[in-house]
């Protein structure tokens, strides 16, 4: 008599966790194909978890929508030498995809459809012969709304977010000092993060001296594109390396439809449900959250998301930022690795990597004391898609 086949997934009642984390170096130089970078990150994540490729039965792939033809796909499973898989998908919700991958992995594991799932993001926008800004300015094509906007001088993503920032400051009565405060506090965190690509201390004077890209956004209000990759291992079983477990307690999504129509706001007033759902599932309140790791391609987005997710009352995030609350030693530590502004722009992996690092207590000079609960917010499009996680060091 043979034993029934072992059921995949988590033991009943056991929390699903992030048991491995791996990254490449974050490079400001051209070089590296996305698949090669992804292979390095996956190898590092499995080593971090103390697992082998044969232990993996799921792979989820997230790639930039951006500027390269050689993007990752489900072919990555073959390219990086994984074996037969139960779960293999390429997810796409723009910048919200990383969080969506983790949620997808957790749900699959809970449903018994996989046991150990690797989630990976890789991108290499920096190419020989041009800056990242130049590469983005030349991409987008001549079709559709994008083609019309490009013919109107909207080159790359900065002008669109500059329109959002202008409107945000208009609606909230804020000033560029609000944006400055975000850039300065985020840099202060990056100083303590060896993986951050910009670590020189920054004050308001240095911010004001930086180059204007599109008013009110200066170059220091914009994310730093890098060539790099990051991967996490999500499993219903503990890792084998002794790393502290990081449990995924809550997940939530929100895709608000805000019409571009006269008489209303089209950028603000969405995403709250993602945060509410994630916190409710986790059984946590906002005041239980020790660190907020938010997708911050531009300084203004940090302010928007603090308000959208209910960590600041509407219109007050600028004042909160100017109080220093978001930075080291503040009451509302936010983007504690330097975010995408000063850390590195790996889309949704940037906030996820930092949340796991803080929950492990591995933050070194930028470690926030006593972190037990982290909130991760990922956005996509023009703040059109929201995905949130609540991660916790303790089981529920």
């Amino acid at each position: 008599m043979t034993a029934p086949a072992t059921r995949a997934g988590a033991a009943p009642g056991a929390p699903v966790g992030i048991v491995g984390l791996g990254m490449t170096a974050m490079s400001l130089e051209p070089g590296g194909a996305p698949a090669d970078l992804a292979a390095q990150a996956v190898t590092a994540a499995l080593a971090d978890a103390g697992l082998a490729k044969r232990d993996v039965d799921g792979l989820l792939v997230n790639t930039s929508q951006g500027v390269r033809p050689d993007r990752l796909s489900v072919a990555l499973a073959r390219q990086i030498g994984l074996g037969d898989l139960r779960l293999l998908e390429h997810l796409e919700i723009k910048g919200a995809t990383t969080v969506a991958m983790v949620a997808r992995a957790v749900l699959a594991i809970r449903a018994g459809m996989a046991e150990t799932v690797v989630c990976v993001f890789a991108d290499a926008p920096l190419q020989p012969g041009g800056t990242a800004g130049s590469t983005y300015a030349h991409s987008g094509g001549s079709d559709g709304v994008r083609g019309l906007e490009r013919a109107s001088g909207v080159l790359g993503s900065v002008p669109t977010y500059a329109l959002m920032a202008s409107r945000y400051l208009h609606v909230t009565g804020g000033t560029p000092e609000d944006l400055c405060a975000v850039a300065v506090s985020t840099r202060a965190w990056a100083v303590g993060n060896p993986d951050a690509v910009v670590r020189t201390p920054l004050d308001a004077e240095g911010y004001r001296a930086s180059r204007m890209v599109a008013t009110p956004l200066r170059v220091l209000d914009c994310a730093r594109p890098v060539n790099g990759a990051a991967a996490v291992v999500v499993s219903g079983r503990p890792g084998q390396s002794g790393q502290p477990p990081v449990h995924v307690l809550g997940m939530g999504f929100d895709h608000p439809v805000r019409r571009r129509r006269a008489g209303g706001e089209s950028w603000f007033g969405g995403g709250r449900r993602a945060a509410d759902d994630a916190l409710t599932m986790a059984g946590r309140r906002r005041e239980d959250v020790d660190v907020r790791e938010l997708y911050d391609p531009f300084s203004v987005v940090t302010l928007c998301l603090l308000e959208e997710y209910g960590f600041c009352a509407p219109g007050t995030a600028g004042a909160v930022a100017r109080s220093g609350a978001l930075g080291p030693g503040g009451d509302l530590p936010t983007n504690t690795g330097g975010g995408q502004l000063s850390g590195f722009y790996l889309q949704g992996m940037t906030p996820l990597v930092e949340a796991v690092t803080q929950l492990r207590g591995a933050g070194g000079d930028r470690q926030v004391p006593g972190v037990t609960t982290a909130f991760v917010g990922g956005i996509g499009g023009r703040i059109d898609h929201h995905a949130a996680l609540v991660l916790d060091r303790e089981a529920a």
């Binding site: 083609g147 019309l148 202008s166 599109a214």
Partner: protein, 162 residues
């Protein structure tokens, strides 16, 4: 019959390489209207609601009858930015240029630059008329600001200096 350089026009802002695809199925009616000097945008054929450019069904009455028709070429600034980064080979202007998100009187929203060079962006709320630029021979909407309507240095373009 050949097209003269004057007919093609020389845009003050962008290289002709940034001409949009005038035969793009989504926006062909807009470009055809613009070539006639008309601002043509989509509305619901059943209830008249102003629709977004990519919208295929009405969010008020569920009709899938999308009608492209000329609208009043006037509106107000919803948001604006002065773009300082000028990508070599794409931007021919030598000074920073405005990008404006306009709330049209018709209910639509549309992003455009200005009809003529402007060193700085207009203030939010300012009234604009809509005219047309030619980019590589394709007419596209552009915001027209009378000189009297422009403040010398709008707050949105204030260079913050200590």
């Amino acid at each position: 019959m050949s097209t003269t350089v004057a007919d093609v026009g020389e845009d003050w802002l962008l290289d002709p390489a940034l001409a949009p695809n005038a035969h793009d199925p989504l926006l062909a009616p807009l470009y055809a209207g613009a070539a006639r000097g008309e601002l043509v945008l989509p509305s619901c054929g059943a209830c008249g609601l102003a629709l977004e450019l990519e919208q295929r069904a009405c969010d008020r009455c569920d009709s899938t009858d999308v009608v492209w028709a000329a609208v009043v070429p006037a509106g107000a600034v919803h948001s604006a930015t002065t773009v300082h980064r000028r990508e070599r080979g794409l931007v021919v202007a030598t000074e920073p240029y405005p990008v404006v998100d306009v709330e049209l009187d018709s209910g639509h929203r549309l992003v455009m630059t200005t009809l003529a060079p402007q060193r700085s962006a207009p203030a939010i709320g300012r009234a604009v008329r809509i005219g047309f630029r030619s980019v590589g021979g394709v007419a596209v909407p552009a915001a027209e600001l009378s000189a009297a309507e422009l403040s010398p240095v709008p707050p949105s373009d204030t260079e913050v200096t200590p």
